[in-house]
Structures are given as C-alpha cells and as structure tokens.
Chain length 527, copies 2
C-alpha cells in the first residue's frame, strides 16, 4: 500500500532522487525508499490543480461536503496500518495518534457541515433602488469564491492533524481550492497513506484529478518551487520560524505576491496571579508540568514562559514544579534534528549567566529522548536579553520573577506575538487581570483562564493564530471553521440577469441560505 | 482656517520645509504655504496613535458610531469653503465635488450604522461541554478586535472620498484603529480642512488625541517612514501601481511585516457580446464614451479596454464611439504630473505599429487639459504585447478585435487582475456570457451587466477590490461595509470568568448582538 511514489492527480510517479523514512527511536530507515519530488513534479501538479480550479470552485456545497466526509471515511478505512506506520515514523504513542486521527477526521466532518451551512459564502444583497435621487442604485450582490490552488506544507509534530489531510488542507478544500501538499519528510509513509485516501475520495466523488496532489521530499528547493509557481494562489504552513519566514519572502517576491498563512513559533506565556498562586501554587505546578511535558513538549502551544511576582508563593510553585518535573520520564522526540535543536536550546540556557536551573526531568536513553527543563530568571534580565524570549521547541520553560504587577505588564509588553496567553487567577485577581487584558489581546490570539494552552479545540470560536511572529498573519486562524476564510475572496455582481447569477445569489435563493439582504441579517427568504 | 500646519493629535506644528498647493488650471500656487512633515513628525504621530490604541479599541460601538457621525457633521460644517478650496486645488467641477462630499459623509454614516449593528464583531460562542468524552470541551468565545494604528495614504483623484476622511480612514476608525493620514500634496488645503474636522470630532467625543493625526507632505520618504514605523499595524493606500508596490515592499521588509491594502491600477475590460452589439451598437457607444470621459477619465474604474468580435457591428460601434468622442470637451486633469503621464501614454499608443487611432476628443487649452483618445488593435497584437494592457490613467481606451469567442476568452485569460469586468449582453448572449463567468470571477472583484464601471456604490455588497495588481490583496474591498474587516483580527477567550469577558461575549449579551452560538446563526439571546 505504501509504494514511495509521488502522487500527482491520479498518477503514481517515481523519481531518480530518493529519501528514507527514519524510526527516530532507533535511528534506522524504514522501507520502502521514497521518491523525492522536484521542480518538474511541482509544475505537473500545479498545472493539474489550475485545470481543476474553476470546476472545483463551482461545485455545489453538498458535493464538497460529501467529498470531505469521503476523505474522513477513507482515512478511517486505512485502519490500524496508519497507526502502526505513524508510530514507527514519529515515535508518538498509539493513544496520542488515535486521538489525533479522531481530531483529523472530526475536523474534516466539521468543515463538511460548515460548507453545507453556507455562511462562508457571505451572500449579501443590496436591492436595486430605481427611484433613488439623484441616481438610481443598481442591484448589487456579493458572495465569496475560492482563491485558486493552495500549497500546503505539513508539520512534523502533527503527522495527521496538521499534515497531508490536516487543517490547512481541509479548510482549503472546503473553500473550493485544489490543494498541492508538500509532504513532510519525517513521516512519508504516513503521508502517502493519507494522500492515497484523499485521492480515492477524489475518484469516488468524480472530481477532477487535479483537486489533489502530493509531493513528498526533503529539500527546501521543493517547497520553494511550489510557492513560486504562478498557479498557486495561497500557502498554508505549520513549522519553524525560519521556514515560515523563508516562504513569506518567496511569496512576497513573486511577480504576483500571494498570502502565506504560516503558523511559526510561540512561547505561550502563563501569568500566575498573586491570589491564585497563594491559594493553589502546588496544584498549578502539577498542571503546568503536565502541559509542559505532554508529547515531549512538541506543541506550538507548549507553555515556555511563566510570569509571576517574586516571593514565597512563587518559591512554593517552583519547588513543586521542580519536583514534578524531576519525576517526568524522558520524552521521545520526533526527529534527530528536533532533538538536537532542543538540546542546544537547553544548553544555551544552562550556560546563561542570568538564568538559574530549577530542575530537569529524568535522563533519557538513546534515540532522541529529551529531558524536560525548568529555569528561572529575574524580569530585569529577561527584558534585557531578547534571546530569553525565543522558543526552545520541546519541554523547556522559564520562570520570570517580577517585582510587581507593573513589571509583569512590562514583561508582557516586551513579548513578541503569541498564539496563546494563559491567566492563572482566583476571584480576587480579576481586577489586576482585567487591567492586563487589553495588552494581552494585542499580543495573543487566544486568552485562557485557569487552564493550559496545549489542547486546541476544533470549533467555531477557536483562534489558533496570533500576531506576528506567532503567525505570518494575525488576521486568521489555522484551526476551526474560521480557517476557511483564508482561502476565499469576495466578488460582487452588479445588475446581472438572474440566469447568470450564481446559485447563492439567485433571486429565488435555491440553496435556502441565510443571506444579508438590505442590511438585515440572517434572511433566508428570496430576494 | 487653513494655516498650512501639520496636525499631530491636538497640536498644530510648523516645519522648516514647505510646499505649495497648485491650481492645475493656471499652474499657480495658492496660499498659504504648507509645512512638509518629516520622519520626526511621523514618530510623534505614531507614538500618540499607539498611546490611543487600547482605549480607542475598547470604546463602545455607540461611541465610535457617534464619533463617525460627528466627523460627517463637521465636514458639512465647513460649508462652501471646502468646495471652493477643493475646486481650486483639483480643477474638479463643483457638482462633482458636492457629489463626492455627499458620498464621503454618507460613507461615514454608513460605517456608524454598521458599527452599531455589531456584525463586524463576529461574536461566536461554543458553549462548554463538561460531560463530553473523552475530554470536556471548555467554554470558547471569539470576537474581532482592532489591529492597531493604521496609516492612510490619500489619493489625488478623490480629494474627499478617498483622502483624509475617505473610505480607508472611515473603515479604520470604525474598526477602532487610530489613523495617521499622509496627506496628498495635490490638495493640501482641502486635506487640512477635513483633518481639522476630524480633530474637532475627536475633541467633541472626548477621545484620546492620538486617534487622529495628519501629516501633509510631498516626499516619498515621508510615506516610507510612516509605513516603516513599528507602531503602525496596517496601511491603506489608493494610487499608482509604482507607489503601491513600493509600500508593499517596505511593509514586507519590516521586522514585523504588516498588511498593505493598496488599490492600484485597473483597465476595467468591457466585453461587447454579439447580440448586444448587433441590437444597440450606437447606444452602447454613447454610454461608453460617457463613462470613459467622465472626470477626464481619472477614475480607477475607467473603462480602458473593449473586447469584441471583429465585424460590421463592431465597426458601427467604433464609428459611433469615435463620433461621440470627437464631440467631447477636453478634460481638466488633477495635476501637471498626471497630465504629463497621460500624454506620454497616448503618445506611445499613437506611435505603436499595431495600434490604429479611431478618434480623439477636442483639443484642450493650456493648464493640464487632456484630449480623450480611442484606439483599436487586433487580439493577436494585444496578446503579443503586454504593454497594450497597461493602464493609461485618463480618458484613453483601446478596442481589441477578436476572431471568435474563443479568442475573447484568450484575451481575458491573459489580463492582469482587475477591479471590474463589464458585460454588454442581450438575452441571447447569456449562454456565451455564462461560459466566460468563471474566468471573469478569477480576474475581477466586480462583474457588471449592461452598465458602466465608473460610479461605485457605497453599500454592503460592494467589492471595490480585485486580484493583484488591481489591488495588493484581492481578499478585501476598499469601498463598502466589508472594508472594516481589513482592520480587525480575531481573539478567542477560553473559560474566562464572566467579569473578564468583553461585553460582546458576556453571557447576558448586554449589547443584544446577533451571535453565532453553538453553530446556530443570528441568535440574539444570552449564552
């Protein structure tokens, strides 16, 4: 079932260049060898995607909804082979991968329902006012249409939910955009299984083969060629800041610049307020260590920073967190490269003059196992050295001790854009938290109280985004139904005869949409 | 009342550098001299805007609505002095400027109503599911918030509706973003009058002075400094392609890249279908010449391209359009520079081997008066030379003769992104038009039937935007209520206590918003 092929439309293609899947736990290759796609394959896939774009964009919502559900079913239809392969390629445990598969399938089904609902069409009608003085108003109708072919870059840390059939692919297909995936080389077998599931859904639904192609490969040049292709109209990416910035620059330098939706890096500050710390330092510490070490800390929402007032309550927290951390087992990391970067990041903090080590987790064995690490420093030092605010991808976090709430605000004001900010508060902390909220809203895409940022709910209200450099574009989210908006643009129709209007805007409202008519929302009637 | 000052918050500031307003009809300076803002003034204005950002973003919708209405009233309160000054600085006639003032004031009031309605908050609630297995769902709520300070670049061709208090300013203020305007040097007196009206509204509403500043000046360096300022979070621009591209590059190269909404250039193709041409070539010709020569062709929606099948009906059209054009009076252009560019563009077409002159308008007098021009060429020539598809800003247009409808589609496929595309069709043309529509939707932001693209209605359904390079960002519009979305980003609140939730998301729904609750739209109830 895994052949190591490049999947362009309905064709399996082999190349002369190959690469291996690697089991990170033992550092050994897993069969088969994989064809590495090159610029020629990019062009083939993009030509097909472009050829599919108009008809796919014009499919009825019901057709696209059934297609997304068919993908979900096909992924489940792979059965345990998908779990076994993903475990071998990523070192992630079965329970985590089963949960991630559930999330991936649920996400596809959520977009199917969202597409059916039609709100994403933003059908809007301003009726003609033929008698208006001094000039008549024409009949004006607006709906949103697909941008065109989208390039999706899968992430290593979510081999299902942010990879071949992850949130970017699901939302782009939902919008009516063909997708060309650049497969992540850390899980090529998993990627191919899922790509074949999507292809089978394309065929089962009778769609144009160009709706989906899959280009595996380890080189940056492959991704660069994909972003540079003139037929690509938007890019979805989850990964490192360096990778995201490189794609942003490529996209901005094209003869036709295109949007890049890159979800890059975040240290997800946790603010420990005085009463909460006084009342439950130890409980918070346990919850924190659980969030920090979950999945070896390989989440974009991993809590890499704690901000609190110095004092005995914070000391209690640090003692409890340190003890909990020392008891954590070493975490298997996804790849040797990620493990190496983590170790280098921790080493830099260990060697930093102004940083104290609080505790480390248990020592790991061979095979990319990482020890968790908790550090502390004073706010003055943290503010003085911006490097302390950089992400160390993995289970490493740093406590920043502040003199007072004013200094807490200073530390927050100095932070880069974040995916999340978390408040640990009790009732009497609310006034202080309220004062900080306007600043937090400018810094983060999601603000939590008394929870942990890891665990991103897939729903309507979710924002998995945030100001630069958490993402390339803080106006969007890569999780939840709002993600579909990234791949749409508005088109207005003026005085078009009913026969030429798209169904969403026809006078008799054949899709029974909730339309915004003459300034009134939610009207499901004809117009 | 016009002092020539720079307006930073509530301060009038003079600089050492000055420039003059010029009456384009006589080429002479109009008093007073104007202070030219520099990088130091940019910093002052942006520091103030940043200081105002949080409180202005947090104002209630009603406060911002009243502020917008106050601006509208204050502009009307200037009275005839505004018309007299604008006529002198732009050469535009009184009726046109009175109409533009009405549009500007109407636009501010429309945004006031839109802000009150609250749909732009996108209040969305996914209720907690504490009993969900395998894990509970937290309470998740989303609303959209202001991006932060916005830089607005006024256009020369709409000294009111796309300038100091134009669509970009109105939509940014509506979103809750402070605005720093770079005033256009072609109408500095008009600009200052309007800027003072906005300032008076800021004061009347008791808002932070940093909500609005006005920086007049002729240099590109001034605009560059404004876009580069780290406190600026988005840019609105209407003007030339070269200007827009320069700002896009500056914005992309910032340490924190920001969105640029640049409305740049468009030739607004008119497609003449066979039956329409056969049935009413002469009527269409008259309408076309009216649209082409309106305002000396100085509209971004000016019809610079006609595409039709070669043959006797097109010859009838060309004859009638030529006759109508010859009868048009010369058009007063906005500035000597715009006039010079127009003349150069027409000269290039006159000297082009493959282009035939159909007719020119009456000869102008001194003082930037321009003669309209109509050309024709064959589709093969048009496709072969991309320069023929470039905008000549002014009353110049070119007829492209096609062999058949397939060649019409080829010509359209080769066009750059456009603000508009217009169909002249009769009933029997509808099947052919329907076939072309998917392509037109990929090329243009607005598609019209049997009208003319000039005249942009300010309403909910309007899209004054389009794929690059018509604009920098085809996902948006610069006219109509949808324009507010450019200056907003989503923020999600997870498990926040009711006391900390913003009003739009509080359980008791104090603003009685239509909220999207648990997948149901338009719910105005509590949650």
């Amino acid at each position: 079932m895994i052949t190591g092929s490049i999947l362009i439309g309905s064709s399996d293609i082999e190349s002369d260049e190959h690469f291996d899947a690697v089991d990170p736990a033992i550092g050994e290759a897993i069969a088969p060898r994989f064809s590495a796609a090159d610029a020629g394959h990019v062009e083939q896939a993009c030509v097909l995607a472009d050829a599919a774009a108009a008809t796919f964009a014009a499919t009825q919502p019901e057709t696209r909804a059934m297609f997304l559900e068919e993908i979900a079913d096909a992924i489940l239809g792979i059965g345990d082979a998908l779990m076994v392969r993903a475990m071998a390629e990523t070192g992630l445990p079965r329970a985590r991968l089963e949960g991630e598969r559930g999330r991936t399938v649920g996400q596809l089904r959520m977009f199917a329902e969202h597409v059916r609902g039609g709100d994403w069409l933003h059908a809007t009608i301003d009726s003609a006012l033929p008698d208006r003085a001094p000039s008549a108003r024409p009949d004006l109708r607006r709906r949103h249409v697909a941008l065109g072919p989208v390039a999706v870059f899968g992430a290593s840390n979510f081999p299902l939910a942010f990879s071949v059939a992850g949130g970017d692919t699901a939302s782009a297909l939902a919008a009516g955009c063909p997708v060309v995936v650049k497969g992540h080389p850390a899980h090529p077998g998993t990627g191919e299984l899922v790509a074949r599931a999507i292809r089978s859904a394309v065929q089962a639904c009778g769609l144009h083969e160009g709706v989906f192609s899959y280009l595996p490969g380890p080189s940056n040049a492959l991704g660069g060629a994909l972003v540079a292709d003139p037929r690509i109209k938007a890019v979805g990416f989850t990964g490192s800041r360096a990778g995201g910035l490189a794609l942003m620059q490529l996209a901005a330098a094209r003869p036709e610049p295109i949007p890049v939706y890159a979800e890059m890096s975040s240290i997800n500050p946790i603010l420990l307020f005085p009463a909460a710390l006084r009342n439950r330092a130890e409980t918070i510490a346990t919850g924190f260590v659980g969030s920090l070490t979950m999945g070896a800390g390989q989440f974009c929402t991993n809590p890499g920073l704690l901000i609190a007032l110095a004092g005995p309550d914070l000391d209690r927290f640090a003692t409890a967190a340190g003890a909990a951390l020392q008891a954590t087992a070493p975490g298997q990391m996804l790849t040797a490269a990620i493990h190496g970067n983590y170790e280098a990041g921790v080493e830099a903090l260990l060697g930093h003059n102004a940083v104290q080590l609080i505790a480390r987790g248990a020592t790991g064995q061979d095979g990319c196992q990482a020890r968790a690490a908790l550090f502390a420093t004073d706010a003055d030092n943290f503010v003085a050295d911006s490097a302390l605010g950089h992400e160390v991808f993995g289970s490493s976090s740093i406590i920043v001790r502040c003199r007072d709430l004013t200094q807490v605000a200073e530390v927050v004001a100095g932070l880069e854009g974040q995916l999340t900010a978390t408040l640990q508060i009790d009732a009497e902390d609310e006034p202080a938290a309220a004062e900080l909220l306007p600043l937090l809203e400018r810094k983060a895409g999601r603000i939590l109280a008394n929870g942990w940022p890891t665990g991103v709910e897939v729903c309507h209200a979710m924002v998995h985004g945030g100001p630069y450099p958490a993402t390339s574009d803080g106006r969007t989210t890569s999780v939840g139904t709002l993600a579909i908006e990234r791949f749409l643009r508005p088109v207005c129709y003026q005085n078009l005869p009913a026969g030429l209007l798209p169904a969403a805007l026809k006078p008799d409202n054949p899709w029974s949409l909730g339309r915004f008519v003459d300034g009134q929302n939610g009207v499901r009637s004809a117009a």
